[in-house]
């Protein structure tokens, strides 16, 4: 027991990240269901008090992004997989790794206590002033949740950068690493550079609310737009912190299940992931199109926003190319991975009109935006997480996840997601505003809202199926063979499932022609 609670082992810490982030996911998902039920009919449905609704919105957004997506992708997957993929016994700083996981857990405790304290935070996940400064709600709780998670992520970034720099197996060159390792490194560099800006933004919020400073107080020369700029300077790149590792997970699953090397590996790494790191810092102002700014800046940011679809497109080409002429196995992991392509395509294409300054004036702050970012970021990344959990399930537990229940969960999930978010595009174009507690002025949207709520109920059912399947299979699943997918990647070929302390029975070394995607010479072509 002591060796679990006080563990510094990256695999155990990784599993703790998975458990913690799934717990946050479940609670935040229940909030989403409450939001959807509230909106299922005109007028107050579940609650008469709009502040309750605001607290649900706050928790849903903050927890899904900060406590589920980012920690599951850069916490769970990075922790569990990077040392195994590069042939290392652990991370560079194991105790700092343990420090990070506990910071993450106390942050979740702090966020969850929003349901127990008087005056809970009600500031969305964005915490925009002047509301967040003037509210009687406990904004400090929001601020410190961001601080704790940010500190955790920054230390994680430092840890994994050093791990990959120093601890690759002897002989492993940079371009022999799994694409997932590259993708996660890119995400960590974004975390390292941009999180401090968010931390500064919320710190200033704290100063303003509790010590009376004037950063965001226009009467004393401050400016609320300062907060929005600082906030989105991190929070736009945060989308890529989620996207790039999600693509990395999907790429690994696709390579393994299609038995092909990653198509255009170097283009995906340098022209995709790293180009996003560079360009991703120059697009944040598109979140402020309607907040007020000079026209030349709006046009410039429109251009950069459109340009960033190029590296993202290169990543997608690599994914599709990896499937080309592969011998594809359609199991649950692969179904989730392939559906990411469809969901991301919908999300990506609806992003183009939002990038256009003229069209966005109509669409800003409507359900169209909300449906867009749920497709492009929330749902796509969540499907990538599920895909990865199914793919590495035998590695973590030594047992196979049940395929029948898995596919049932997938179908319900896929149907539910699209039933929820697809109709919202349409009422968004018709003018349904985001974040409203009630929509008495738009009674014609009620049937669509009902449809979306039905979808949300189906998603909730599918989650019950998925989580039941994981728990059931981890306890009573069929024993997994050593390498069930026939992968060539080091976490499957060089150690048992689950790996023991120190990961590898003998420290691995690799030769110059080794590749994690070496599925036969005639197909092993990379540019």
């Amino acid at each position: 027991m002591k060796e679990w609670i006080f563990t510094t082992d990256h695999k155990r810490i990784g599993i703790m990240y998975l458990v913690g982030s799934m717990a946050a996911f479940v609670v935040a998902g229940i909030m989403a269901l409450l939001i959807r039920l509230e909106l299922s009919s005109l007028g107050p449905t579940l609650t008469d008090n709009a502040t309750n609704y605001n607290v649900w919105l706050y928790f849903h957004g903050a927890a899904m992004i900060l406590a589920f997506l980012i920690p599951s992708l850069t916490g769970f997957f990075a922790n569990y997989l990077i040392p195994l993929m590069i042939g290392a016994p652990d991370v560079a700083f194991p105790r700092i790794n343990a420090f990070s996981i506990w910071l993450f857990y106390v942050a979740i405790v702090l966020a969850l206590s929003a349901f127990m304290v008087p005056d809970p935070p009600d500031v969305m996940w964005t915490g925009y002033p002047p509301y967040s400064v003037q509210t009687t709600g406990n904004t400090s709780m929001y601020v410190f949740t961001v601080h704790l998670l940010g500190f955790s992520s920054i230390l994680g970034a430092v840890n994994f950068l050093c791990t990959v720099i120093y601890m690759r197996a002897p002989g492993m060159g940079w371009n022999q690493m799994n694409f997932f390792v590259w993708a996660t490194l890119a995400a960590f560099v974004i975390q390292l550079i941009f999180i401090p800006v968010l931390a500064a933004a919320v710190t200033l919020l704290l100063f303003d609310k509790y010590f009376g400073t004037a950063f965001f107080n226009p009467d004393a020369g401050g400016d609320v737009l300062l907060y929005q700029n600082l906030f989105w300077f991190y929070s736009h790149p945060a989308v890529y912190v989620i996207l790039i590792p999600a693509v990395g997970v999907v790429a690994e699953v696709m390579a393994g299940m299609a038995r092909n090397p990653i198509f255009n590996y170097k283009v995906a790494v340098y022209g995709g992931a790293w180009a996003i790191v560079v360009l991703g810092s120059d697009v944040w102002v598109h979140h402020l199109y309607t907040s007020g700014m000079v026209d030349w800046l709006r046009i410039g940011m429109m251009v950069t926003t459109l340009i960033i679809s190029i590296p993202v497109g290169l990543l997608m080409i690599s994914l599709v190319g990896t499937l080309y002429r592969g011998s594809i196995q359609y199991n649950t992991a692969m179904l989730y991975a392939i559906s990411v392509l469809f969901l991301f395509l919908i999300g990506g294409l609806t992003g183009i009109p939002l990038a256009m300054t003229s069209i966005t004036l109509h669409l800003a702050e409507t359900y169209f935006v909300m449906a867009h970012f749920h497709y492009v970021m929330a749902v796509s990344a969540t499907f990538a997480v599920f895909s990865g959990v199914y793919y590495w399930f035998p590695k973590m537990t030594g047992r196979m996840a049940n395929e029948t229940i898995g596919k049932l969960g997938f179908v319900l999930n896929f149907v539910g997601i699209n039933l929820t978010f697809w109709p919202l595009f349409s009422i968004g174009v018709d003018g349904m505003p985001r974040r409203y507690f009630d929509y008495a002025m738009f009674p014609e949207f009620e049937p669509t809202q009902k449809m979306a709520t039905m979808g949300a109920i189906i998603i909730a059912l599918s989650m019950v199926v998925v989580i039941f399947n994981w728990v059931y299979s981890a306890i009573a699943g069929v024993k997994a063979p050593l390498n069930p997918w026939g992968s060539k990647s080091m976490e499957w070929t060089h150690t048992q499932s689950p790996p023991g302390a120190g990961n590898f029975p003998t420290p691995p070394t690799v030769s110059a022609d080794w590749s994690p995607y070496n599925y036969g010479k005639h197909t092993a072509q990379t540019i």
Partner: protein, 257 residues
């Protein structure tokens, strides 16, 4: 620290499941003494619970740091020195946070009609220049200490380290003196845009001086009994020099401009 696990025993190259108490203790200490205590004091205005939370959190925090340091010192011969790569990465983060504060200050200042705004007392430049001399001297004295250590002179290193820490304390004392003076003149945190920027940036820098001093305590206490970790010495020094360099920006932007 390592406990004998049951795994890998079949192989000659035996591994253990590694573990440590201190990361969790440190996190609990931070949690109770910062977010929880802050919430009690400033959001719920409940000083009793605030003090209770601080009283519980601070010992945990100190215990966590002390235990962690002693584990690190015990393993100092085995550690590969990667921390000296990790710390600069961390400092990149710190630079960005200071940059955000300065950017906010520039925004406040450059959009103001008059600067300094009405209600700003005279803020002298003599004291900050003295503080600059003190902080630069402390970086130099630490460097002398490191040079003494390279020659194997541990006693001399301890002496220079204590001089450095004394200079750091004097620096913090100057900050307190200055704040006290300005607050007496009615220049509170929320007085105007100048006070907003002034206290935020100098206060944030002072908190970094405090962290640097904390790191020096972690170097000094084991060093007094002759236990010295090369990485810890270099790392604490690197951080101190960084804090020193940030001060130049603070002085030039806040006091001299």
């Amino acid at each position: 620290m390592a406990d004998h696990g049951g795994h890998g025993a079949a192989h000659a190259h035996e591994h253990h499941w590694e573990w440590s108490y201190y990361p969790l203790i440190l996190v609990l200490g931070i949690f109770l003494s910062v977010p929880v205590a802050f919430g009690f004091f400033f959001q719920y205005h409940n000083a009793t619970l605030g003090i209770a939370s601080l009283g519980l959190g601070t010992p945990l925090l100190l215990w966590g740091i002390a235990g962690w340091t002693s584990e690190g010192i015990a393993n100092r011969d085995k550690e590969p020195g990667w921390a000296l790569t990790g710390l600069p990465f961390f400092i990149v983060s710190e630079i960005l946070i200071f940059l955000s504060l300065f950017a906010s200050y520039w925004m406040l200042r450059l959009t103001a009609d008059v600067w300094p705004p009405a209600g700003t007392p005279h803020i002298g430049v003599v004291l900050p220049l003295i503080m600059t001399v003190i902080l630069v001297s402390s970086s130099i004295t630490y460097h002398f200490g490191e040079m003494a250590l390279e020659e194997g002179n541990k006693g001399s290193f301890n002496m220079w380290l204590m001089v450095t820490m004394a200079l750091g304390l004097v620096f913090l004392g100057c900050t307190i003196f200055e704040y006290n003076h300005l607050l007496h003149e009615g220049f509170g945190f929320g007085a105007n845009a100048k006070s907003t920027a002034f206290y935020s940036i100098t206060g944030f820098h002072a908190s970094h001086v405090l962290v640097g001093l904390g790191a020096f305590v972690c170097v000094l206490v084991p060093a007094l009994s002759g236990k010295i970790s090369h990485s810890l010495v270099k790392g604490a020094g690197l951080y101190w020099h960084f804090v020193d360099i940030v001060w130049f920006f603070v002085v030039s932007q806040i006091y001299l401009w």
